[in-house]
Symmetry: C2
Subunit: 298 residues, 2 copies
């Protein structure tokens, strides 16, 4: 079964009734499943995580954005986190049997509807971005450029929206896009030497000559008295988890340091786990539909 994930961020983190009303709208479509709903009072922001088959994703997200635009007035919104609009950031993420390209298409369909039907300006970001400077969310809106600044700048220079009007209503603007699933993966070392830890993290990092889709930092874990190489794998399909693990092992071995354990933080797609078996046990022809539960569940 094709599954896409969508993680809309809304600019309301204190009034539970409003956030639940938005979530209900999202859940009212097709086979949408709400996996999580988190409210943050100090950021005055909430994050809804839902999944569904791709054909329902645009309608579900659209209904959430519409309800948010009705309930949230950006002129009276305050909170620590930078924000542009009532529905602030809406990424689509491929999970199962869906490509990133399909998610870019969903972002475009949603952006068009939000611009035309709700009269909310839309900026496409991440892999859906049409301009290089909109690939990183932090380039679009940040601490010093938020809803208040956008009000006067919209329609000028870098702030011509990809869809919708050249002016803001009280719903503000939305940032819509597509990105790959992010795997948070840590490797703990049998070492307390942070100098070595930093060298290993550097050897792993894409920007320092390491693996293409790896962000890595070294931390010292007080409870386990060990160094941790903490990674974000931003494209587990191109840089699989086992390759990150083996690269840490290789770099640690030059200092005579062993790996104690590794851990996935949060969720990981089935195919990312299967790929490790394919590698280590040379199960090159193994298909995910050989997993018993997949056959039962789908």
């Amino acid at each position: 079964m094709k599954i896409v994930e969508c993680v809309p961020n809304f600019s309301e983190g204190r009034d539970r009734e409003k956030v639940e009303a938005i979530t209900r709208e999202i859940a009212s479509v097709g086979n949408v499943k709400i996996l999580d709903m988190e409210m943050d009072a100090s950021h005055n922001r909430s994050v809804v995580t839902f999944t569904c088959e791709p054909q329902y994703a645009v309608e579900a997200a659209f209904r959430g954005i519409r309800k948010a635009s009705e309930l949230i007035d950006m002129d009276s919104h305050q909170g620590e986190h930078p924000r542009f609009g009532s529905a602030d950031v809406i990424p689509f993420i491929p999970v199962s049997e869906v490509s990133l390209k399909e998610c870019v298409d969903l972002a475009n369909q949603l952006g068009k509807r939000v611009g035309e039907e709700l009269k909310i300006p839309v900026f496409l970001y991440s892999d859906a971005a049409l301009a290089e400077n909109r690939k990183n969310l932090e380039n679009i809106r940040h601490k010093n450029f938020q809803y208040e600044q956008l009000k006067t700048e919209i329609g000028k220079g870098d702030y011509i929206p990809d869809f919708g009007p050249l002016e803001l209503s009280k719903a503000g603007a939305s940032i819509i896009g597509a990105r790959d699933f992010l795997v948070a993966y840590n490797v703990n070392l049998r070492s307390q030497d942070m100098e070595i830890g930093k060298k290993i993290a550097k050897a792993l990092r894409a920007k320092d000559g390491g693996l293409s889709f790896v962000k890595a930092l070294a931390f010292y874990l007080e409870d386990k008295k060990c160094v941790q190489i903490s990674m974000n794998l931003t494209n587990y399909k191109k840089t699989p988890v086992y390759r990150a693990y083996e690269m840490v092992r290789l770099e640690a071995s030059r200092y005579g340091i062993e790996i104690m354990e590794s851990e996935v933080i949060g969720l990981i797609p089935l195919d990312a786990i299967i790929e490790s078996s394919r590698f280590y046990m040379r199960m090159n022809s193994f298909k995910s539909n050989q997993i018993f539960e997949k056959k039962v569940w789908e």
Copy 2:
């Protein structure tokens, strides 16, 4: 979610309408999912594979057995495969979050109902067996001891049933039990030397000093021009797949032979695949509910 598998074998492999009627009865219960239905004309036998939550398994199997007893007359049944009854063999198999012990309980519940309500003699086998000589199905019924022989022997010596009457109707007797999920796993070697292949298979086999829950044979694959170590892993929880793989690798290495590839034939439980990642990447604390799809599907 708890999932149990049940694979009843029925003594009808030619009349599709009858087998479909039996299958419909099974599918009429709770959240039963029919995964497969195979008919074999020369054996005159069919195999239905279904899964459900444990609380529905006994009722579903019972309805299938009842319908088979109505539709199949053992006095007129002929076929190559040895058989005792219209519903011949019915094993329960733990798949997800269910223990073998729970499946033994299901076998007992089903056996009791089939004996009392349908007046069909029931023999418990495999892990549900009450006597050592009923652990192996081949000890109970075989080419030289089938429905025809049981007719006169039932109630005597080794043929006192665990449930039900001491005489046979035209529905014959049923053999009900519980067993672990069987993983069919092959490792292909970069070698054409069958003598070495046989030595490696022997080193793997439980009965020859190898791994406890491994049955292994060596074959020569004409299409790939290589030796295959073909294994049945009869308890993947106690003897995990990676251990079988690594043992083949170890034994092959003494002859300087590399592994070409390995393959799972058919289905494998999710946890068996995860266990390989836990081993190779030292992900000792990884839980199966960290698999994204599991959260979405369940």
